[in-house]
């Protein structure tokens, strides 16, 4: 039996702080911190700024006089707040607050006060999700009003970014960035499809995908291409694993993925806010008419409108469930594993409808509450193992993993 290999021996190790430092020194790319949500990061990249996402993982930096959030709000938020305030002392160009959930809005408001004029705080509101597949229900009034709003939001965002970068956005740079993004997303999806042949453990594979949070798109694409080359080289008998679709916000701490692997599960697709929930290639194909060639900002607007339904963008329960079911079939997952950060109201509110919909479709579901920065609950391994057992008992053939 071949054991899953850690990423380090296969791909050049990445040291995020060093990478950011190099980007600044060699290419003059100053980091812009992004809070979770849907922001047009392509605009930043096209202006030679480096989008760096903040999810609240890793060590908790000590920040003197850090504002405290109430203990009953989303556990990611407090860590993000500390991380962002710690970063404010570093050479960061700006912070971007995308419209997301109530907690993130409040967090943004606190940050704007705490950072004050020392660091620009940009906002971007993607508007509500009115996602529906082709031939879906008639649009609500909000859907008809969305386009001009989104366009105005994007224009204001571009203007603010241009102010920080000190230059105008070049349409060809934006087009290049959008093309790279699409290419990288397609490759990431291809890696998921070839997961069985990719000799990487769950955590290294997750880490590989999540390098998107700080790499330039070109570098992310390069790393994915390197990983793809490994698929071809790797061989050996594969242990039977139960393929699952991973949903939720972010697998924090990443040790969660070690437990997933130890339980005999393998992630063959995701609907995580930090990853696949923001990949537009699949959703766009399902939603938009074919053959419409758009470019530049119009293309970007279409991308943003095509984000799949999710509780974090106030997507409806039914459309989210149907989206997830389509993803389950596409990825050939046997079950769905949802990671919900403690006190994350959007995710928690979606659970009853999701449970009912997946039960009707006879797709097993496990909802796991987790707390970033806290030790994993002792019973989590048992629950994951039991879930893997359930998938086996359901008669689903295994073999989806390395």
């Amino acid at each position: 039996m071949t054991h899953p290999l850690p990423l380090a021996p296969l791909l050049p190790a990445l040291d995020a702080p060093r990478y950011l430092d190099e980007q600044r020194r060699l290419y003059g790319r100053r980091p812009v911190l992004l809070l979770p949500g849907d922001a047009p990061r392509e605009v930043l990249a096209a202006l030679d700024l480096l989008p760096v996402e903040v999810w609240g993982g890793g060590e908790e930096p000590a920040v003197p006089r850090c504002p405290r959030l109430p203990p009953f709000v989303c556990s990611l938020a407090q860590r993000q707040l500390q991380r962002l305030l710690a970063a404010a002392t570093e050479s960061v160009a700006a912070v971007v607050l995308p419209g997301l959930c109530d907690t993130q809005q409040g967090l943004g408001s606190l940050l704007a006060e705490a950072l004050g004029p020392s660091l620009p705080v940009l906002t971007y509101d993607p508007g509500i999700s009115v996602w529906s597949p082709r031939g879906g229900a008639a649009p609500e009034p909000v859907a008809e009003a969305l386009d001009p709003f989104r366009k105005a939001e994007l224009e204001l965002f571009v203007q603010a970014c241009e102010g920080i970068a000190g230059r105008k956005l070049q349409p060809e740079r934006l087009a290049t960035e959008l093309r790279l993004q699409e290419e990288a997303q397609r490759l990431a999806l291809a890696l998921y499809r070839r997961r069985a042949g990719l000799v990487l453990g769950e955590r290294p594979f997750g880490e590989l995908l999540r390098t998107r949070e700080f790499l330039t798109t070109a570098d992310w694409l390069r790393r994915l291409q390197d990983a793809q080359a490994l698929v071809v080289q790797a061989s050996g008998s594969l242990p039977a694993r139960r393929p699952v679709l991973l949903s939720g916000i972010a697998p924090e701490p990443m040790e969660l993925l070690d437990l997933v692997e130890a339980a005999g599960l393998t992630v063959v697709g995701d609907d995580l806010l930090c990853l696949g929930r923001r990949w537009t290639v699949r959703a766009r194909a399902a939603q938009c008419p074919e053959g419409r060639e758009l470019a530049g900002r119009a293309q970007l607007l279409r991308e943003l409108a095509a984000l799949p339904p999710a509780p974090t963008r106030t997507g409806g329960g039914v459309s989210r469930a149907s989206w997830l079911l389509a993803e389950v079939h596409r990825s050939e997952a046997q079950g769905v594993l949802v990671l919900v950060p403690r006190c994350c109201e959007p995710e928690l509110c979606g659970v009853p409808e999701l449970t009912a919909s997946l039960a009707r479709a006879r797709v097993p579901l496990l909802v796991v509450e987790h707390e970033p920065g806290a030790p994993l609950a002792g019973d989590l391994a048992t629950r994951l193992t039991a879930f893997a057992g359930l998938l086996s008992a359901a008669g689903c053939p295994g073999g989806g993993g390395p």
Binding site: S109, E113, T123, D125, E140
Partner: protein, 442 residues
């Protein structure tokens, strides 16, 4: 046809004859019971008795509920969030039910925990807002608040929070009624013009959809008329709140919260506007007479965040017994702002402005300014911040607000509780924190 005729005659009878008489009888009964209690040995309240003018507003609500139960006469029914454009629904002939308000009534009666548990059994986590859990629990298990008419349409506006959206989607799933969503962007600083246009366009689209459901196209004159009454009601409310500037304040926050309901539910009706004008006048008369809600008022405090519905009166009495009056609340004050924003001659944009400027959807700086202004206007000595476990938008930032106001010499207390779910609430703990705080206030 005969059935329709019977239905409309019943509605007319309930609306014009039986209803008012029944409500008046109930009011008389309540007053009688109060008189009897006064004769009983001294369970004397440190709070002054409520004003007779408040009865008129309570009667309006009671009559409205009666109409919903027996006198709809085929009128279409809309369930809406408290921040939804009730004026638009009213102008198009809808009978409006606000589930959140019904939940608050259950909360007052300490029925919240039981209902919330029912929703939890349906898979809703205890961390989800208790208003949503209560309402969904009531839908699942039958409501102690009595029958409310089933909806023909649901309207959710996100100006309070995003939770209402998940909540109303669940209501739509369970009732089968179509749901229309009005999205209001989060406001940082000034409202941006494209955000106003976004909300205006949604309102106009909503009016068209409602016409398809209720069968009545929007009459622009009728909308202007409703907005006029709504503005008058809001102005009456502002007048009533401003009466609390007097020392001692003629009324206090428990009554403010309780008497906010007609404004939230029945704004746009002429009777509501009259009721609030009468209330304002009565309060001014009371303060001219030098009478206060807490006759021996020594300390004046503000309340930030939703009320703790199931201990609303208790907390007021507890404070009043220590000569402390809650003279204002941010959640009640924000409803007076519509008076300056609503303009019947610019119905769509002014309605959009009202929807965008609800307290919860504001940034920290705006909240700070509002609180500081309120404190100055009412000569408050401190603020009790209700860190409501259910209401994240309200709770986030309260610690910072307390710190900002503290730097301006205003004392603050963060009090963690829940507005409607009484489980986990311990009187002694809360009272201990209040006593400690009052000691620091001197």
């Amino acid at each position: 046809m005969i059935r329709d005729l019977l239905r409309s005659s019943t509605a007319a009878a309930v609306g014009r004859l039986v209803g008012p008489a029944w409500v008046r009888l109930e009011t008389l009964g309540r007053q009688g019971r109060r008189l009897l209690r006064r004769r009983a040995p001294p369970a004397s309240s440190p709070l002054a008795p409520p004003l007779p003018a408040t009865n008129r507003l309570r009667e309006l609500l009671a009559l409205y509920r009666l109409e919903g139960r027996y006198g709809l006469g085929g009128r279409p029914v809309a369930w809406a969030t408290h921040g939804a454009p009730v004026e638009l629904l009213r102008a198009q002939g809808f009978y409006v039910v606000l589930p959140e308000h019904e939940g608050a009534r259950c909360g007052v009666r300490r029925g919240g925990g039981t209902l919330a548990r029912l929703a939890e059994q349906e898979g809703f986590a205890p961390e989800v807002c208790s208003s949503a859990r209560l309402d969904l629990g009531a839908l699942v298990g039958g409501s102690p608040r009595g029958a409310i008419p089933r909806p023909d349409v649901l309207v959710a506006c996100t100006n309070g929070c995003n939770t209402v959206l998940y909540w109303f989607r669940e209501l739509a799933r369970r009732t089968g009624a179509p749901l229309f969503v009005l999205e209001t962007p989060f406001v940082r600083g000034q409202v941006r013009h494209h955000a106003r246009l976004y909300v205006r366009d949604q309102l106009q689209g909503l009016a068209e959809r409602l016409a398809g459901i209720g069968g009545r196209r929007l009459d622009p004159d009728r909308l202007s008329e409703v907005l006029h009454h709504s503005r008058e009601a809001s102005a009456g409310w502002r007048r009533a709140l401003e009466a609390a500037r007097a020392r001692p304040a003629p009324w206090e926050a428990a009554d403010m919260f309780a008497l906010l309901a007609p404004l939230v539910v029945l704004r746009g009706e002429p009777a509501t506007a009259r009721g609030y004008q009468q209330l304002g006048a009565a309060l001014e008369a009371r303060s001219r007479a030098g009478r206060g809600a807490v006759p021996t008022e020594r300390l004046r405090l503000l309340w930030d965040g939703p009320p703790i519905w199931f201990r609303l009166r208790h907390l007021s009495r507890f404070l009043a017994a220590r000569q402390v009056a809650l003279v204002g609340a941010t959640a009640t004050a924000v409803w007076a702002e519509a008076a300056a924003l609503l303009d019947p001659d610019r119905p769509w944009l002014s309605l959009a402005d009202v929807l965008l400027q609800v307290h919860l959807a504001a940034d920290l700086r705006t909240r700070h300014q509002r609180l500081a202004t309120l404190a100055r206007d009412l000569a408050a000595d401190g603020v009790i911040f209700h860190a409501d476990r259910s209401c994240k938008p309200s709770s986030i930032g309260q610690a910072e607000l307390a710190s900002l106001l503290g730097a301006e010499g205003l004392r603050g207390l963060l009090l963690e509780a829940d507005h409607a779910d009484e489980r986990g609430y311990v009187d002694e703990e809360i009272e201990r924190q209040l006593l400690d705080f009052l000691e620091t206030c001197g």
